[in-house]
């Protein structure tokens, strides 16, 4: 499984930067909306012509939600690569190395099952949303691409976990 290590890390990193871009976009979009909304208020109060064309950005709420889902989902794989998820290691670290490897293999397997299911179900759910033509209320943006995004991002986590598994499994059988 070693051959998967490089591509999975590479993919995780690319997705990570997409997630980062999502956060920056969320910030910029929300700030632009606040400023434009402020302009509207000023125009109504003081009738300054400069602000007459200011309008809040329609659908900011929806866009921020969608960007939020990208920001989290696409960061999952790289956060796993960097062991960035909170875990309680204090008890496991007391066991001998072999036992630690056994526990790690089992828990990685559980994680893998979870993300395989999540990836599969997200794809099904997205297909369902696509068929039903569900869209956001203001901008009429379809939901399904973002759910597919979660499915894809979860598949990337599976790759990372698979590589982890390939590393801890040999430790179990080491003589």
């Amino acid at each position: 499984m070693g051959f998967l290590e490089k591509p999975s890390k590479g993919l995780a990193k690319i997705l990570y930067w997409v997630a980062g871009a999502g956060i920056v976009s969320m910030m910029l979009l929300t700030c632009a909306d606040i400023i434009l909304r402020f302009g509207v208020t000023v125009y109504h109060e003081y009738h300054w012509q400069f602000f007459s064309h200011f309008r809040p950005i329609p659908g900011t709420y929806e866009l921020v939600c969608f960007l939020g889902s990208v920001a989290v989902a696409f960061a999952m794989a790289h956060t796993s690569v960097e062991q960035g998820h909170v875990a309680v290691s204090i008890v496991v670290s007391l066991f001998p190395k072999r036992v630690q490897a056994v526990i790690e293999t089992i828990t990685t397997l559980f994680g893998l099952i979870l993300f395989i299911l999540l990836s599969w179900q997200s794809v099904l759910y997205a297909g369902d949303l696509l068929r039903r033509g569900e869209v956001s209320p203001t901008l009429q943006l379809p939901f399904y691409p973002f759910v597919y995004g979660i499915g894809f991002a979860s598949a990337a986590v599976c790759l990372v976990l698979l590589v982890d598994l390939s590393k801890c499994l040999p430790e179990v059988f080491r003589k």
Partner: protein, 433 residues
């Protein structure tokens, strides 16, 4: 087997798996899915998984987390923490124990822009520990101070814990933020008092620093102005209902970047680094929250939390005794677990109990945040202590824990005061529109 029994088994397996070094969010998601599928059916469980994940990831309320984390990271990389400490240092550094007091003040200040204990402890540790070492402070006192005062990060708003607590229990995040301010100030004062008393008893712990002139003092005030402006913008905006918390966080992050760029204190590499940290931290938080939501749904179908709440509220015990047991559970759990994970795990179970006992949900939020603050500095898993020990590699872990002990007493006093006078937390939220 009754559904309640399944719920109890689920909880026991959860506790076992939590100690297996499996990521906390994964454990809760996995068991939540298994349990829900067992109680309802497999198809429902599979559907629940995809739906819960999409709903949490795209929740508007939770988008506030990456934005506040971003604000704190930019503040760190652009040196706001350094300037805060410098100001506090010039103001009180010449007194005995002054540098440690300055550390508490700077931590409180940094907490006003950062929402996590680890970030506050790590940030202030790198800034303040070398200084205290230079002035021959007892390193146990110095490291203990940073670890304890760093825990203010989750009490003084913005606070990641208040955000997720607010969302899971459907409380106003603005009110929770407001509720954290006075207890945060009270706790800071208690920390200062603890240092003062320790140094009074043993002056060699913390020798006096160099004297500063009035001019320097006035000049140093500039260092806290930006933090004050940021805090006023963010909290003022939420408090007066001008911004939603997400908008306040976005404006705060943007303003922090703007100020750092104007002061030429933010380079491209440090911007990229702060974004990378933000992405990782937010993902970590959101994965835990998502896991907790899935697990919470499993708990809900077993009706365990409600049964427990009904049972507990029917016990022939006074409310404060039940509350004390709840607090003990948090304290004990907090010793082993990260603050956020601990709160996420227990809210589905203890929140209904606190409601059945008739406690104010906002007040309850502040109380459990205060208790988990104790958790992050108590052995064996005092996360903050490990963070500080990562910064001060030459100080043995036992010394840091020893330095933390007197601060724990301050936290305990603060907690007791809050139990006796709930108004300390509830006064400010009561003023909100």
């Amino acid at each position: 087997m009754s559904v309640t029994t399944i719920g109890i088994i689920g909880l026991i397996v959860l506790v076992i798996l939590l100690f297996s070094n499996m990521p906390v969010g994964f454990v809760m998601g996995f068991l939540g899915f298994l349990g829900f599928s067992y109680v309802v059916n497999l198809h429902a469980g599979l559907c629940l998984l995809a739906r819960d994940v999409f709903e949490v990831f795209s929740s508007y309320g939770l988008t506030v987390i990456p934005l506040f984390v971003f604000m704190g990271q930019i503040a760190f990389y652009s040196g706001i923490s350094r300037r805060l400490y410098d100001s506090a240092y010039v103001l009180v550094g010449s007194r005995r124990g002054g540098l440690a007091m300055a550390t508490v003040a700077a931590c409180a200040g940094f907490s006003a822009i950062s929402g996590s204990t680890n970030a506050t402890a790590a940030t202030m540790g790198t800034v303040t520990l070398p200084e205290m070492k230079r002035y021959k402070y007892d390193m146990s006192l110095a490291t203990g101070t940073v670890a304890a005062a760093g825990s203010l990060g989750i009490l003084i708003p913005p606070s990641v814990i208040f955000i997720v607590y607010g969302i899971l229990t459907e409380q106003s995040i603005g009110k929770l933020f407001a509720a954290g301010i006075l207890p945060g100030i009270l706790l800071s004062i208690l920390f200062l008092l603890t240092i003062y008393l320790r140094v009074l008893k043993n002056p060699s712990l913390a020798p006096a620093g160099p004297k500063t002139t009035l001019k320097e003092k006035i000049k140093s005030f500039m260092g806290i102005i930006e933090t004050l402006i940021l805090f006023a913008l963010v909290m003022g905006g939420i408090f007066f209902g001008i911004f939603t918390p997400t908008e306040a966080a976005a404006a705060g992050a943007f303003f922090t970047i703007l100020m750092a760029v104007i002061r030429r204190q933010l380079t491209w590499p440090s911007f990229v680094q702060s974004l990378a940290d933000t992405t990782r931290i937010s993902c970590m938080v959101m994965v835990i929250v998502t896991g907790a939501v899935v697990f919470g749904h499993f708990m809900a179908v077993t009706r365990l939390p409600y049964d427990l709440a009904t049972w507990v509220s029917g016990l022939p015990l006074p409310n404060w005794a039940i509350m004390s047991v709840v607090i003990l559970v948090y304290l004990f759990g907090g010793c082993f677990m990260d603050a956020l994970a601990m709160i996420m795990l227990t809210i589905p179970i203890f929140f209904p109990v606190s409601q059945a006992l008739g406690y104010d949900p906002i007040w309850f939020g502040v109380v459990i945040v205060l208790i988990t603050e104790m958790g992050v500095i108590t052995p064996p898993v005092g996360v903050n202590v490990y963070v500080v020990s990562g910064v001060a590699k030459d100080v043995p872990l036992e010394d840091i824990f020893r330095g933390v002990l007197p601060m724990l007493a301050a936290l305990l006093v603060c907690n007791i005061l809050l139990l006796i006078f709930p108004q300390i937390a509830l006064f400010l939220p009561g003023l909100m529109r």
